[in-house]
């Protein structure tokens, strides 16, 4: 959901406080099981807000929205706002946005807080049920479903951001997590949605991940540790296809196998980049 700062009828508490003294931060961890599970925890430093929550007049709230599947649901997180939000993965695809709030659970007459500016001194506000009292920001993650194979369901990879500088792959989940540094994650979201750069996106982000996944899959020592994972079952089905058998399912053929899975993105990416250069040169 998009916060309309101009329309706010009263000051709200933000990550750095904003017009209100204090702090409100939400941390969301992603745990992948049969459902998509968001593990939420909150940091709140503001006496008035803490009292409203303790008294049952306000509550932590997460609004989860996925525009690609026309999905939107709100989740109250009672008490200290920590908890899990579970969503059936059939409702999610591509960008999923989680907006983290504190909202009024009932009408609150004469609401006031400690403000960072004397502009609001002596003022009280009538807050109606559902109105936003605190906003710690929006977090987003990508549920990718760019291909599928008969008999399989759900996404193969899911993108997430992290505070580190490197790209990490986590095989121990379904789907496989590709964790990107924050700036790369934001860039990836833009590239991913561009038709002109779709194969470039697969070459840059998905192809390297899949090379490693395939090496684990075909490793005699390590494959068995993953054979309960959906991605392992999907690859098992995929390697039975005639086109894969024609290439030869073996470690030395991993690069070609992975390129075949994604319809040869590397060679096509150079065409796509060439077309973009031509457009720039001749425009």
């Amino acid at each position: 959901m998009k916060l309309d700062i101009v329309s706010l009828p009263h000051p709200i508490l933000r990550k750095d406080g904003g017009e209100i003294v204090g702090r409100f931060e939400t941390h969301i961890g992603l745990v992948i099981a049969k459902e998509t599970i968001l593990t939420v925890s909150q940091v709140l430093h503001n006496e008035a807000m803490e009292k409203l929550i303790t008294d049952g007049k306000a509550v932590f709230f997460v609004d989860v929205s996925c525009s690609s599947t026309m999905y939107r649901m709100g989740f109250e997180l009672p008490g200290d706002g920590s908890g899990q939000i579970r969503i059936d993965s059939k409702y999610l695809r591509d960008t999923v946005v989680a907006t983290c709030l504190i909202i009024a659970k009932q009408d609150i007459p004469r609401y006031k807080n400690a403000y960072t500016t004397d502009f609001f001194d002596g003022q009280t506000f009538t807050v109606h049920k559902g109105e936003i009292l605190g906003y710690s920001g929006s977090d987003s993650f990508e549920v990718t479903k760019d291909w599928e194979t008969p008999g399989s369901e759900g996404a193969f990879f899911m993108f997430y951001k992290h505070a580190g500088k490197d790209v990490k792959y986590e095989l121990g989940s379904d789907p496989i997590l590709i964790k990107l540094p924050e700036e790369d994650y934001e860039n990836m979201k833009k590239i991913k949605k561009s038709e002109d750069l779709k194969r470039v996106f697969i070459s840059l982000y998905v192809y390297p991940a899949m090379l490693w996944v395939m090496s684990e899959f075909l490793s005699e020592d390590r494959s068995a540790t993953h054979n309960h994972r959906k991605w392992h079952k999907k690859l098992t089905d995929l390697m039975k296809e005639d086109r894969m058998r024609r290439i030869g399912v073996s470690v030395e053929n991993i690069p070609e196998l992975v390129q075949a899975i994604f319809d040869y993105p590397l060679t096509n990416s150079l065409n796509d980049l060439n077309n973009i250069v031509d457009k720039i040169t001749f425009s």
Binding site: D63, S68, M70, G74, E76, K90, R93, K129, P150, E195
Partner: protein
């Protein structure tokens, strides 16, 4: 040989090429013939649980006419096993418009009636789905039928499609309500439609202008309230506040 219980859909590479051809004007001719030929190399087998058999629509409406709610319900019931995740797949809907429902699409969209320079874009809008714009599921003439029913079917045992028929009575719902941020939430979406259906006298004139007004008010309120935290009665109470203004609305 296709795997059992699978059906073909376009590959992503095929879609990219088809769209490029239309943007340059090269591909338009294919849409003026009696059928659309598809190469095997442009398809992949999908495990989507939809029937391969043709669904016959009663009297496809011509270009510019409103969709038939009954056609949409028939399609939805045949494809009711689709999940929202699968039903947002552009490859699937594009295959349907080009193969399964080519005859329907030809009559419904009438490409030859469009100005020649605008045909490519027109086809892209109505025969394809733009993954950068989820609202394009409402522009694709087959996807729209499924999605409207999916988003408006209720649990009412007597008639679960009352709200579906309301949506098909007016174009505004598929441009302003369903693809928008507020319409994405089922409680809000149903409350708006039930409010309109439940006040037939109020909406008996200037309906489009009045529905746009209540959506504007709701969007404004959604800028500082978590509307997804409210129940149906609370949303309808907000809509009731607009009644004095609605009574004065014309246009």
């Amino acid at each position: 040989m296709p795997e059992k219980n699978t059906r073909p859909i376009f590959t992503t590479a095929a879609l990219v090429r088809m769209k490029d051809d239309l943007r340059t004007g090269k591909g338009v001719k294919k849409y003026l013939g009696e059928s659309f030929s598809v190469e095997d190399i442009d398809t992949v087998q999908s495990s989507l649980k939809v029937p391969m058999s043709k669904i016959l629509f009663p009297n496809p409406p011509g270009g510019g006419s409103r969709d038939s709610a009954e056609a949409a319900i028939r399609l939805f019931e045949a494809y009711s096993a689709l999940s929202p995740e699968d039903a947002s797949d552009e490859r699937f809907w594009t295959y349907l418009t080009h193969v399964d429902f080519f005859d329907y699409m030809k009559k419904r969209t009438d490409v030859s009636a469009q100005k020649e320079s605008k045909r490519g874009k027109y086809i892209l809008d109505h025969w394809f789905v733009d993954p950068m714009s989820p609202a394009s599921l409402m522009n694709n003439d087959i996807a729209r039928l499924w999605w409207v029913v999916s988003l408006t079917k209720t649990k009412d045992a007597k008639d679960p499609y009352v709200l579906t028929r309301e949506v098909f009575s007016m174009l505004d719902y598929t441009t302003h309500l369903l693809p928008g941020a507020q319409g994405r939430n089922e409680t809000i979406r149903f409350a708006v439609l039930e409010f309109v259906v439940g006040n037939p006298t109020l909406f008996s004139n200037s309906k489009e202008a009045k529905v746009r007004l209540i959506m504007r008010r709701l969007n404004l309120r959604g800028g500082y309230s978590a509307l997804s935290s409210l129940d149906s009665d609370q949303i309808k109470a907000l809509l009731e506040e607009t009644v004095p203004e609605l009574k004065k609305t014309t246009g």
